[in-house]
Symmetry: C2
């Protein structure tokens, strides 16, 4: 299949800045040219941050099965059925709370990304009524109880 | 800032196949080498699909403000505060219902992507108790009533 050669090139819109890894608060500093794109975001309480997990190596991108969170007691599972950072395209996705939008700087709570992580996109979150029943595997529930 | 030159290269893990654009059901056909990564996904009812909106032109990627859904009566808003496909990195994000996982083919409901859209990542969804209050702008509510 020729499609296999298909290559996509991205540039970050900005970077995560964080004082310490344990800090729940992060700043997302956009490049000046994207500042305008933030207009109106302060009217939302939450947003999805899509970022590039830049610390993931080429080797980690080849991993297709993991024990969730590295716990051997949880079943070996395909990476697309886990939130593991080891995956072919290490794209991170986190729902954060928006604390402040000031010029080109967005301050958020709950972003599980390292300092200097490239940010790819920001999308507003508006809860839609989600009345569908959600089913998860047994290990997912066990993981919640471990945390 | 040197970071501006930072370039990220991605290859799709597979493609969306769809009979007609109006079809609520899509198939995601992975390349053979990623098949293993789907193992265990059938135990989830829902997943996020992260895809590349390949029909967005270079010109559209320069747009930083839009009227949501092209409706002139809604305020001109920064693209990062909208779900507009016109954005610097046209990455699509949709929560879908998983109907079937069979070999390298994932059948889902609710994916708003065109036939032959490159898929970048798949992440399982498990509803966490979301008790936080969600705030959205006035235009977002108006849009819901228009739909």
């Amino acid at each position: 299949m020729k499609m296999r050669k298909y290559e996509i090139k991205l540039r970050p819109i900005g970077f995560v800045r964080k004082n310490s890894q344990k800090d729940e608060i992060s700043k997302i500093v956009l490049f000046d040219e994207f500042k305008e794109g933030l207009e109106g975001l302060k009217d939302f309480s939450h947003a999805f941050i899509i970022f590039w997990m830049h610390k993931i190596s080429e080797g980690q991108r080849k991993i297709l099965k993991v024990h969730p969170r590295g716990k051997p007691e949880l079943p070996l599972t395909g990476v697309f059925a886990t939130r593991s950072p080891s995956r072919p395209n290490p794209i991170g996705l986190t729902l954060v709370r928006i604390l402040k939008v000031e010029g080109k700087i967005l301050t958020v709570e709950g972003l599980d990304a390292f300092d200097m992580t490239p940010v790819l996109d920001i999308k507003p979150f508006g809860r839609r009524s989600f009345n569908e029943e959600v089913r998860v595997p047994e290990w997912w529930k066990r993981l919640k109880n471990m945390a």
